[in-house]
């Protein structure tokens, strides 16, 4: 059977397969599997799924400050008075905020760019939420901007671009440390990761009480 066409599928089934195959990472075969799973699903579960989808489209907006996805005009992080308002962590996607929040190690605010500069795909700075970031930096009392874009070429390009724009404003610009991942073998590390790890090496603190002579 040709995976690209479903000649025997009824029109509503074909429509759902077509809708699923538009999702990122879902090919025609996966779209068919998901569709036939849905057909066997109890009606109330299907309705709950449909309601969740509609609700996301109806109720979700971008936070007016950090541009993260939220239900309210200002997200929970931006409206939390206990957050450190002198630091903004710049991330590419809303999911990156969730990842950083899971660490419980950061108390500052965020700014979501909604992408990264990708010249070969025709995505430039004007398609990202950079103007909004500059507006925030002018209005707010930010002393440190933490660049937390992905450690790949596009993320680095975005960081260098932002560094160039923001450094003249007198704000301290920092970048997340790059280096070896926990649990990885040194021999498999690529040269960029190893070079970054060497550059970012830190002195090992010796505990005087427990050290042996």
């Amino acid at each position: 059977m040709n995976s690209n066409s479903t000649p025997s599928a009824a029109p509503p089934v074909a429509r759902l397969i077509e809708a699923f195959s538009r999702l990122p990472g879902v090919g025609p075969k996966s779209a068919q599997r998901l569709t036939y799973f849905m057909i066997r699903m109890p009606r109330e579960e299907a309705e709950a799924l449909a309601e969740a989808l509609i609700s996301v489209k109806d109720r979700i907006v971008l936070c007016s400050k950090c541009l993260n996805i939220t239900e309210d005009p200002v997200c929970a992080v931006c409206s939390n008075e206990r957050r450190d308002r002198t630091r903004i962590c710049v991330v590419e996607e809303p999911l990156d905020v969730l990842a950083l929040e899971r660490t419980r190690a950061y108390e500052g605010l965020y700014h979501v760019l909604h992408g990264s500069i990708s010249p070969v795909n025709g995505i430039g700075a004007e398609q990202l939420k950079i103007r909004e970031l500059l507006d925030r930096l002018r209005d707010e009392t930010v002393t440190e901007l933490i660049l937390a874009t992905n450690p790949n070429l596009e993320g680095e390009a975005t960081s260098m671009y932002l560094q160039r724009l923001i450094s003249p404003l007198g704000i301290k610009v920092t970048r997340l440390a790059r280096g070896l991942s926990s649990g990885a073998d040194l021999e498999y590390a690529d040269e960029m990761t190893l070079a970054n790890a060497l550059e970012g090496r830190a002195e090992v603190a010796v505990d005087k009480e427990t050290s042996t002579e």
Binding site: P24, G25, I117, P119, V120, N121, G122, G124, A125, N152, L153, E154, E156, A157, M160, Y161, Q163, R164, S167, S181, S182, G183, A184, Y188, A189, D190, E191, M192, T193, A195
Partner: protein, 268 residues
């Protein structure tokens, strides 16, 4: 090229484009010497700690073990030969590296050998890491790429009548693929770009020389502008549409260096 197992081959490659695939995989467009552009997946490459992830970033020159597939190949091992660190840590060099990488990718054909294009790209990325004349490198690369692939613009004779050109100012037609003599320039309705005698001399020098011989060439501002317009219109005409990364290159062209460049030299 082929290893012991029939469906596994090893190749050198430069990573020219990527996109996310599935949960944590990446789809790569690779320029290889023996097969031209191929597409291959790297499973789990977006996860921290992936053995592949750090080796297969854009513009990395790598050695790969690849499982042959019907539609997409799969990368099983990757080792970096050169990550061109000075290129990726300087926005100016990076914008030019992406520009020549895109040109190489757009002009190459899938699964057709491209050893000369591959070698040209690897050498050029190496030069880009150290040269002080990154813009001259981009112009030289574009001309050399067109020459290798059979799209060299005609710079010696009139592209229409074939008569040798007098040593004078002329015009360039991207549509017709070269310079036009005074009597042929009025025929046709295509866009014509001015090409002064100085511009023509520089273009001819770039076309016949290796990069080290033209690296320190001092090109005047007006000649630079004319060469830029001529080469861009010619490459766009060959490729069929604009080179996407040119907009970013234009934006950061005159920016000072921003990233740390260990042992590197400031781009022009």
């Amino acid at each position: 090229m082929t290893s012991g197992r029939p469906n596994l081959f090893t190749t050198e490659a430069v990573v020219l484009r990527h996109s996310d695939l599935g949960e944590a995989d990446r789809l790569l467009w690779l320029l290889t010497p023996q097969r031209g552009v191929i597409r291959a997946t790297a499973r789990g490459a977006r996860k921290p700690g992936s053995k592949l992830g750090g080796h297969i970033d854009l513009l990395c020159y790598v050695k790969l073990s690849i499982r042959e597939g019907r539609e997409l190949h799969g990368i099983s091992q990757a080792d970096t030969i050169d990550a061109f660190r000075n290129v990726r840590t300087d926005l100016g060099r990076l914008s030019r590296g992406l520009n020549i990488g895109e040109l190489a990718q757009r002009i190459s054909v899938e699964d057709a050998p491209a050893p000369e294009v591959f070698r040209l790209l690897v050498n050029s990325l190496g030069w880009l890491a150290t040269t002080e004349n990154a813009d001259t490198l981009v112009r030289w690369f574009a001309l050399r790429l067109m020459t290798i692939t059979g799209f060299k613009p005609e710079l010696g004779a009139c592209v229409d009548c074939g008569n040798e050109l007098e040593p004078d100012d002329h015009v360039f037609s991207a549509e017709r693929g070269g310079l036009l003599c005074p009597s042929c320039r009025s025929q046709g309705s295509d866009a014509l770009h001015p090409a002064s005698l100085g511009t023509i001399k520089v273009l001819r020098h770039l076309a016949r020389s290796d990069f080290p011989a033209v690296e320190s060439l001092n090109i005047g501002a007006e000649e630079r502008r004319q060469i830029e317009r001529i080469l861009r219109s010619h490459t766009n005409s060959v490729i069929g549409r604009g080179v996407l990364s040119s907009a970013f290159l234009d934006e950061v062209r005159d920016w000072p260096e921003v990233g740390p460049v260990p042992g590197g030299i400031r781009a022009d």
